[in-house]
Structure formats: structure tokens, C-alpha cells
Assembly symmetry: none
Homo-oligomer: 208 residues x 2
């Protein structure tokens, strides 16, 4: 079976890819036709059939814009120096932070922001770290680790709540210090059930 694409097939595939990527929806047969220079919807159909046969597309019959890209034709991010980081939704105690149902989305960032491939991201809620320049709505990146050095900014789990604070061990206790004079530090006996360091904050992104 010839897996080579003709020029029209190639242009149709490219057009479909860029429409999905740019507009968030696949084109209609007529849109594809006018793009690749085929005036009949039946001609387009023919081109799409070929792309389906060759494994680049899937179609849903009788469905408007019922075109999906298969894995092999989803355009890969060619850049090697980036990493896709999951943005975790709610973090709940006991659930592994990598559970995919729990993701709010993914964001692609430079590897310098995501040093290890288990880096995760989190949207900041609340104002407790505002004097450290971390604001509500910011996305922070964290590298998973169970302990931290004094002065690190960490993501910690206290019961059902995830929180971002400065980490300051004092004797047998751990001080979780906010960067907001209106908030009080949290003091935790180390070994308290339900308390856990999830990771160290290594980066931050914000959109204006």
C-alpha cells in the first residue's frame, strides 16, 4: 500500500492541522476544497478517504467537521529544549499527584524551568505569598521532593489542602511561613499525619 502522500493530500492534511491548531476546530469539506483547489465536495471526500486509508485521519460519518487527527499526524513540538508540564487541579491527600484525571491542563515550558521530567505546575490561590512576588493566579513550577532546605519555597500538603510557603525547620517542628504580614505562620510537628512536603518551587509564570 503506497503510503506516500500526493501533493493535494499533503496540503489538505497541513490545512486541517493548522485549522485545528489555530481555530480549535476542523475545517468543512468545502473549506478544504477551496484551500487545495478542489471545487467538488466529492473530490475532497476522495482526498480525505485517502488520508484515512493511509492512517493520517479518522472521520465520523454524518458529523459536521467530523475529522480527527491520528497520533501520527498530530504535529509534534519539534523543540527539544522544552518540556510539557501538567498543571494540577485540586491536590487532594492520598491521590498521587500524577493522576491524569486531576489535570487542569498542560503547559509547555523551557527545560530550564522544568529541570526534571516529573516537574509539576500549580495555579496559586490566595495572597499568602504576595510579598515574595507570588500572586493569585500565577502558575508555579515545582520539583517533587519530600524534604527541603531552610528558606526554600515549598508546596506542602496539610490535610486536604495544598499550600505554598517558605520552609523553615525549627528543632523538631516545621514552620511554614507566608510572605504576607496579614497571615500567620503555620507550625507543624514533623510527623503529623496528613502533612507532607510535595516539592520545591523552582519557577513561576504569570499572564497579564
Amino acid at each position: 500500500m503506497g503510503m506516500q502522500l500526493t501533493e493535494k493530500q499533503q496540503r489538505a492534511l497541513q490545512f486541517i492541522q493548522s485549522e485545528i491548531s489555530d481555530r480549535g476546530r476542523p475545517p468543512t469539506l468545502r473549506e478544504i476544497g477551496s484551500q487545495i483547489g478542489v471545487s467538488s465536495t466529492n473530490g475532497v471526500r476522495y482526498v480525505l478517504d485517502a488520508l484515512v486509508r493511509k492512517g493520517y485521519l479518522e472521520r465520523s460519518p454524518m458529523l459536521s467537521r467530523g475529522i480527527e487527527l491520528t497520533d501520527r499526524s498530530v504535529r509534534p513540538n519539534s523543540k527539544s529544549d522544552v518540556r510539557e508540564v501538567p498543571i494540577l487541579g485540586r491536590i487532594a491527600a492520598g491521590i498521587p499527584i500524577t493522576a491524569t484525571e486531576n489535570h487542569e491542563g498542560r503547559i509547555t515550558v523551557d527545560k530550564s524551568f522544568a529541570p526534571t521530567d516529573d516537574t509539576f505546575a500549580l495555579r496559586v490561590r490566595g495572597e499568602s505569598m504576595i510579598e515574595a512576588g507570588i500572586r493569585e493566579g500565577d502558575v508555579i513550577f515545582a520539583r517533587p521532593q519530600r524534604t527541603a532546605d531552610s528558606g526554600d519555597i515549598v508546596v506542602a500538603m496539610i490535610g486536604e489542602e495544598a499550600t505554598v510557603k517558605f520552609y523553615k525547620p525549627i528543632g523538631g517542628r516545621i514552620l511554614l511561613e507566608p510572605a504576607n504580614s496579614r497571615f500567620k505562620p503555620i507550625i507543624v510537628e514533623s510527623g503529623t499525619p496528613g502533612f507532607q512536603i510535595l516539592g520545591k518551587v523552582v519557577g513561576l509564570m504569570r499572564k497579564f
Copy 2:
């Protein structure tokens, strides 16, 4: 204008987001309706109208699946491409900001942080915007533009110096306001030679 979303609006928006992200196409009115429990397409229409009014969606009339997410409601995801943004070193008056010799390096970021392909980046020096959560060493992303709306954070050129400030036009003058009570606003007569708005700040990254 009430920007709060009702429960149905929220569920509709979430559904639209996940359909676009998972299937690569927006849902139809009837699909949305059956998801959020509204049996009439006109009821769905009403919900979508609200989401458009509140700035979460755009619609194309008479177009199947003619729903697009606005920037604020696009969830960054793996399908979005990345863009390489130049980090400008010194910005000097008169030299085009795109001059390649002038680059400190390049950073790859999600397109949602670099909306246009002429987005540039800049490393922040000084503490003048610290109360806006912008700190020394942060990298800011800016979209080139010559004017701005009041309240925007802009990159402006004053003589030989580039600066990041709040933009506030007052009468024929322009107030460049720092976010630091220890600093004074800069007042510039519009039309002053050597003064120029270079762009509007759209994003920020920080490494810890």
C-alpha cells in the same frame, strides 16, 4: 457587569474546553445542552450568549461549531505550539529591538505567553515594580506596540534607558508610574524626543 459564572455557564465552558482539547473540535449546541441539562437549543444559546458577554467565548454566526475560546479561557495544552522569544540585552535608543546582535539569548515558551511572533522578552532590573509582583531578575514578555491603554504595564524607552512601568496618560502628558512607594512617577510630555512606548507587558517568568 457581573463576571461571575453561573453553574451552568461554568459547566458549559468546561465542556467546551475539554471537547476542543480532547477531540479537536467544539461541541454543537445540542451536545452542550445534553451535557449541562438544557433540553432546548435556545436555552443553550442563552448560556453561550452569557459566556460571550462575559468574555469567555467568541461565536461565528451561522457556522457549525462556530465557538472559539478567548485568550482568558484557553487552557494551555499540548497542542498549542511553542515560540522562541529573544531575550533582549540592553535596549538602546534607535536600534531596532529585533536586531539579532542585541540578544542575550532565547527562551522557548508556550504560545499563550507569546501571542504574536514579534513578542520580545526582557530581564527586569531594579525594584521599581515590586509591588506589582515584578522583581529584579524576572523575565517579562512584551508585545510590541506604540500606544497603550491606561493601567497597562508597558516597556518604555526614555532616552537611552528602557523601563517597565504602569502607563497612565493624563491630558497631554504621560505618567509612568512605578509600583514601589519609594520611587517617584516619571512624567513625560508626549512628543518628547527619545521617548517611546516599546510594548505592552503580557507575561512574566521567574526562576527561583
